[in-house]
Symmetry: C2
Amino acid sequence: MTSPLAPADDGALALLGMVAYGELGAFARLAADSRSAPVLHQRLALARFAGQALTHLEQVSGRVVELGGDLEATMHPFAGVLTEFDRRTEPSTWWEQMLKAYVGYGVSDDFARVLARGTDPHTAEVVAGVMPGADHADFVIALLADAGADDATLAARLALWGRRLVGESLGAVQRVLADHPDVARLLASALPGEADPQQKLFTTLTAEHTRRMDRLQLAA
Amino acid sequence: MTSPLAPADDGALALLGMVAYGELGAFARLAADSRSAPVLHQRLALARFAGQALTHLEQVSGRVVELGGDLEATMHPFAGVLTEFDRRTEPSTWWEQMLKAYVGYGVSDDFARVLARGTDPHTAEVVAGVMPGADHADFVIALLADAGADDATLAARLALWGRRLVGESLGAVQRVLADHPDVARLLASALPGEADPQQKLFTTLTAEHTRRMDRLQLAA
């Protein structure tokens, strides 16, 4: 977790490492989703979303290099985070799997977006640029709308699953803040003047989650 | 399997559909390999190879559109081929998995390369352009050289696995030719003057396989 750069840049590299790991995880998850998709059309769409995650990873890598860092070294400290999250949220149906990609990773994207406010403008721009496109959201919304529209039981189960996912996601965020002092410091710089930055962060993440569940017409 | 184009173009679309499915399969396989790679460096390398397969898929898609075809429609007839191949060649170790990506898909690449000679020059160029880069071969060679150098038992097991893979690959090629008359016709145009194009094809594929196993310093 040490870096050859001045302490001021440590936060940026930590954020980029965290985002890079998130993109690698999203790539792996979306590729696995593509493989298990029931029809070719969905296989192709999900493979392309996985490809976008990989493009994002390269963009983050570019910024790491500009800051004088090393991609793998910045990623390493975040190796265990997603593994633990994935272990605790193994989807049991195709719908749960789709919801996980949208809701679970949505929280970590929002987390990165908040942290980016504490970095230099260039890093903040790179992080803002690697957030998933609207096309992925639209894909999941269309898919779940088809499924949930006529099936109240499925909709209720997915709403429950959404709550489980957001709970586990917030737990993962909490573990990152506890285990990575540089990220916790970055959060404090990102939310200046907040007496309790973590409290403010969790309020923001929960509000964004509710907005996402609303878009899916599922109860948050 | 019908196409809106003149019969002369059917072969090109069939080949492109087969190659596109191969790239989607390679993408899924390499992404899964990335996920199960023991170290981050290998995870990243394999994710990037998966990304290349996706780029190839888009290039093939571009040519399908130029020919007035539809990507999904051209891919559909080849849906079962890789599923069956994958079912029959489930790797039991990380090394077997790595060898499969190199040797198994190597045969299908060589098959595509031979068929491309029977298409218009533009399609042939696209197909030639989507073959895996030398970097993937180098990655597998380095990995297996590390493993096999000091372990004669492992080397012997991998040589056996290589023979199994090439046998199953040639079986898959044979099924494609039997099930897809447009591909069989394309093979005949690709190898003009050959009394028995299939015999010639299998000689070529076997020779290329031997060359690959030699590069890995494994007995073919």
